[in-house]
């Protein structure tokens, strides 16, 4: 069931990243029932994991969100107050102007809830980034009058909208993300279609993100995309471009769910069993830098939530240096199995 508060607000032990990491290294991993991720990737010569050319800058504009989804790896919610300041945004803009990355990816929480969100999008879109993504949870568009014109704002700045919709049926979506979320998401998708998103001859891109509503792995991305397309078109006349199937990583609130429902061990076995060496080559930390609300640099959004800062002399946006960062080793732990299971999983969906 959807929770009402974040782990942080509940002062749960798991709200501390160090406790999550400790949990992930003990039990089946300490007893060597399952191999450590590090040893697993060493088998195919991928340890230490090194970055390739930087392609994606991902900015987390804050952990505040209008939803409290039960699987949230950010532990986001209305009770989280961490938010990127205008000053940090300025520093990010300087980097965006000089980076070799072609994609800018804004995430949260609900990035739209940051009071400087619109200003930042306007400024950043002037920097001529090729692909400008905003990750929207959809319901934010209907949460308050002041957000109703977001589809129009996105259109104006040619933002590539990537939206989470765990399933094309109400029951599973509401169970994971909260009651009423499905209906609002459908309405928001229709609003995006109405301003031209995912319409023929339109360059306004709208992608959906699917993630399993429970302790199981996603099936084939193409098959899911087909099911989503047929169902959303038939039931609600909704169009979208691509579906990204994402594996839930065993951290934060999803880890809490796994432990409470006694699915943790089975889930880790399933991830390790589905380990795909071909996916390691393209895990998203190899072409991404993730920047937190307070300007620290991470290999990915998951490492950000586990407070594993980049292993480099450069650790903050204020002294960003792409060349130096390219020489770092990527920090890994057992949660990384989530990125290498099956067809692999990244913010852009399958990678293998």
């Amino acid at each position: 069931m959807p929770l009402l508060k974040s782990l942080a607000a509940r002062k749960d032990d798991l709200s501390k990243p160090a406790n999550q990491l400790k949990f992930l290294s003990n039990g089946i991993f300490r007893e060597e029932e399952l191999p450590l991720f590090k040893d697993k990737i060493a088998e195919s010569g991928n340890y230490p994991l090194k970055p390739k050319k930087l392609e994606i800058l991902q900015l987390n504009l804050g952990y505040m969100c209008n939803q409290v989804c039960s699987h949230c790896h950010v532990d986001a919610g209305p009770d989280r107050k961490e938010i990127m300041t205008k000053e940090t945004m300025q520093q990010c803009l300087e980097v965006i102007k000089t980076t070799g990355a072609h994609t800018l990816d804004l995430t949260g929480g609900a990035p739209e809830m940051n009071p400087n969100f619109r200003w930042f999008v306007e400024e950043a879109s002037k920097a001529g980034i090729k692909d400008f993504i905003v990750r929207s949870n959809l319901t934010i568009i209907l949460a308050n009058k002041k957000y109703h014109d977001l589809p129009e704002f996105f259109r104006k700045h040619k933002v590539h909208v990537v939206s989470s919709l765990p399933f094309y049926k109400k029951e599973k979506t509401d169970k994971q993300r909260g009651s009423g979320v499905f209906d609002k998401s459908i309405k928001a998708l229709q609003m995006l279609n109405a301003v031209g998103y995912a319409q023929e001859d339109s360059d306004l891109k709208l992608d959906l993100v699917y993630n399993p509503a429970g302790a199981f792995l996603p099936t084939n991305q193409q098959a899911l995309e087909q099911d989503f397309k047929t169902a959303l078109k038939e039931d609600f006349n909704i169009d979208f471009d691509n579906l990204f199937a994402i594996t839930n990583l065993p951290i934060s609130r999803f880890l809490e769910f796994l432990i409470a429902s006694e699915n943790y061990e089975d889930y880790m076995y399933a991830l390790v069993e589905a380990y795909n060496p071909a996916a390691v080559e393209n895990v998203m930390c190899t072409n991404t830098i993730s920047i937190s609300w307070d300007g620290w640099l991470y290999d990915c959004d998951f490492n950000q939530m586990l407070e594993l800062k980049v292993d480099s002399k450069v650790q903050h946006i204020s002294d960003y240096n792409e060349d130096l960062l390219n020489n770092r080793e990527i920090r890994i732990s057992q949660h990384c199995y989530g990125c290498t299971a099956g067809a692999g999983s990244s913010c852009q969906g399958s990678v293998a």
Partner: protein, 111 residues
């Protein structure tokens, strides 16, 4: 923990069956893998058939495995339950149709 004949963790060890007879074990898994590939029937349809049969043969491991497989494929719980009823109907029917044999035998033995 109370001991039962079935241990859910044993499902994970299924592939170890090959350790005591590699040749036959591998042949089985090759065959098994092939059966579940897309064919004249879709992999989705096969998953539902497998779920129904799991109930008919009353294999708890297979029930767990194909419930999970169905969830992964986005199969709805209503579809899963209907599949189980198909299995139950065939099993019930198969039991009942033997009643004809019972009736025949009864008649034959009776004066």
């Amino acid at each position: 923990m109370s001991k039962t004949y079935y241990n859910p963790d044993d499902l994970r060890k299924f592939s170890k069956i090959t350790e005591w007879n590699e040749d036959l074990g591998n042949k089985f898994f090759d065959y098994y893998g092939k059966v579940f590939e897309e064919g004249a029937l879709s992999a989705r349809e096969k998953s539902l058939i497998a779920l129904a049969v799991s109930h008919v043969v009353q294999c708890p491991y297979c029930i767990d495995a194909y419930t999970k497989d169905g969830l992964q494929r986005g199969i709805e719980k209503e579809e899963m339950m209907e599949a189980v009823h198909v299995g139950a109907a065939i099993k019930g029917g198969a039991t009942l149709v033997h009643g004809v044999q019972m009736m025949n035998k009864y008649e034959k033995l009776s004066m």
